[in-house]
């Protein structure tokens, strides 16, 4: 054996083995899986095409009704956008408060998050629709406790600038957006907090050393980097919000997609096609959102990872 190993290096090249008779690796499992899936897909297509219960013409006709389209545009899309604006804005503010050195701000943020995360959205929306009962005289904007102060000073009248009818505030889409937005803010607060904490503390130090104020450090340096961590779960939250708009029924909101579809369904005694119509609407809207999320992630991911930003040339590895 020793002679063999010693002899090798000298005449290694002539000793090289010839090309092997290579056979591609076989994957029998894949072929079995493909066969099973082809059969299942064929069954599904057959079901979709031949089963009368689908009643496709009715599905598309129901989807095309003006109240349904309005319900989708206002009740689903508009409420999703507005609730997410309230939710993301509120969530970032809550996260910054939660991470602040000020124990009052931090405590308030914690209580808010605790409260709104504890309530199921359906019940929260139901409650929002009934809140008007708390303010029979409306919601006034002015000096707090003005009637007490006026009484104490021996004066009369009021110090109120304008009054909203509470039963109009806590109704319909407005109540829905307030409820969904506050609930979302509680969840977004945790997501934003995780994002802010993911940024290396050295970043804030470097920015402070340049003379930036706390607010500038947050806006210019920390949040743009936190967005990389915040955006993907926010995409999930937006998709979840899109679906949770169907809970607006609890407020109640009548101009909402599923409510409108259901009322058509119950008029014509066709429940199943209505469910299919709603599914198609939500599938389409979610797909669009996922495309948007891809572009947002690409925007906030610049400067990180291997994908070079389009503007810049990849740099050489040398230190010259």
């Amino acid at each position: 054996m020793s002679t063999e190993t010693e002899a090798r290096p000298a005449d290694a090249a002539p000793d090289r083995p010839g090309a092997i008779n290579a056979v591609p690796v076989r994957h029998p499992g894949r072929w079995v899986a493909i066969a099973v899936i082809v059969v299942l897909v064929a069954m599904l297509v057959h079901l979709l095409v031949t089963n009368k219960a689908f009643d496709w013409s009715f599905v598309f006709e129901a989807m095309n009704q003006q109240p349904v389209i309005n319900g989708f545009l206002k009740g689903t899309l508009l409420v999703t956008v507005l609730s997410m604006v309230v939710g993301v804005g509120g969530g970032v503010v809550l996260a910054v408060m939660r991470l602040s050195d000020n124990p009052i701000l931090s405590g308030v943020s914690w209580v808010f998050t605790w409260f709104f995360r504890s309530i199921p959205r359906y019940i929260l929306l139901f409650t929002m629709g009934t809140l008007g009962i708390l303010f029979p005289q409306g919601i006034a904007f002015g000096i707090p406790f003005d009637w007490k102060i006026i009484d104490w000073l021996g004066m009369s009248g009021d110090w109120r600038f304008f009054t909203l009818d509470a039963n109009q505030v806590f109704t319909g889409l407005v109540a829905g957006v307030i409820g969904l937005g506050l609930s979302e803010a509680a969840y977004m607060a945790e997501i934003a907090r995780a994002g802010i904490m993911s940024v290396d503390p050295g970043q804030a130090e470097a920015a402070e050393a340049l003379g930036m104020s706390r607010g500038k450090v947050m806006r210019r340096v920390v949040l743009p980097q936190a967005m990389r961590v915040i955006v993907p779960p926010t995409g999930n939250e937006t998709i979840a919000m899109l679906k949770d708009t169907s809970l607006l029924l609890a407020v109640p909101v009548i101009g909402e997609l599923f409510y409108q579809l259901q009322s058509i369904g119950s008029t014509y005694y066709k429940t199943f096609p209505i469910a299919v119509a709603a599914t198609l609407y939500y599938l389409a809207a979610t797909s669009v959102l996922m495309v948007g999320q891809y572009f947002l992630e690409r925007h906030f991911g610049r400067g990180f990872g291997n994908k070079a930003p389009r503007a810049a040339r990849p740099a050489g590895a040398g230190g010259a």
Binding site: D200, G202, Q203, E205, A206, A207, E208, A209, L210, G211, M212, S213, K216, R220, V221, P224, Q225, R228, F300, R302, G303, F304, G305, A308, P309, A311, A312, R313, P314, A315, A317, G318, G319, A320
Partner: protein, 251 residues
């Protein structure tokens, strides 16, 4: 008047008393290198000069203003003090140029063209005019540290702090950064440098400060402190640094 004056500075992290009464000054145009074993408090001292660490006791006076005083506008004081970190801490979401302009724009309120001009001039000064559009992740460690120096210089600071600027670099990249720092020193920049580069300290520093155990043990011209140290602790440290394979004789 000294540019920086530090008076009986004390700093503890919990029960760990890191700085135990530091008094020293940096004059305008002076290059001071702080050396010492790890854990001696030299980085903490540097971070106290722009109050990234808040000392428990003592004063830090920059250009006659006590920046440890609660009424001091810290953000304004920090504008005059550039800092370079061991880990660079460049903003990864901004290009090299934007790293150098962001504070000029938001803090000094310079117009875009002026900020851009200053940033380009400083990137050229550190030899990186060809990397202006690059993001930090596309640069080597040595290049990143030079961008960090350009970023600090773009604020036109009166004083530059360097916190072990070459310790996180591959050995072959150290030279580029030290060359930039040497040039800065020759240009008359006031510099306070925490470093392990004895050759650099010996060549460039006007004064070397040796710290150990949270106090200044010895300070003076580099030829004296590094070349002919008086204190035993300094001698022990320098033997270890200059000859890492040296084994202490067991008593």
């Amino acid at each position: 008047m000294a540019l920086v004056e530090i008076k009986s500075l004390h700093k503890s992290f919990g029960s760990n008393h890191v700085l135990r009464g530091i008094d020293f000054t940096v004059e305008q145009g002076e290059v001071v290198c702080v050396i010492g074993p790890s854990g001696s408090g030299k980085s903490t001292l540097l971070r106290c000069v722009n109050l990234l660490e808040t000392p428990q006791e003592g004063q830090v006076i920059v250009r006659g203003e006590d920046i440890t005083h609660p009424d001091c506008h810290l953000d304004e004081a920090r504008q005059q003090i550039g800092m370079v970190f061991q880990q660079f801490n460049l903003f990864p979401h901004l290009s090299a140029l934007a790293n150098c302009t962001v504070a000029q724009r938001t803090v000094l309120k310079r117009p875009a063209e002026e900020a851009d001009r200053v940033a380009r001039a400083n990137l050229e000064r550190v030899g990186l005019s060809d990397k202006i559009e690059a993001y930090p992740a596309q640069l080597s460690g040595g290049q990143q540290q030079r961008v960090a120096i350009a970023r600090a210089l773009s604020m036109d600071p009166a004083l530059m702090l360097f916190d072990e600027p070459t310790s996180a670099l591959d050995p072959e990249l150290v030279g580029d950064v030290l060359t930039v720092m040497r040039k800065l020193a020759l240009d008359g920049m006031t510099m306070l440098v925490v470093t392990h580069e004895m050759a650099f300290a010996r060549e460039v520093a006007d004064r070397v400060v040796f710290m150990d155990g949270g106090v200044i043990v010895e300070q003076g011209p580099p030829a004296e402190v590094i070349g002919n140290p008086k204190e035993e602790r300094t001698r022990t440290f320098l033997r270890r640094v200059l000859d890492p394979t040296h084994v202490e004789p067991t008593p």
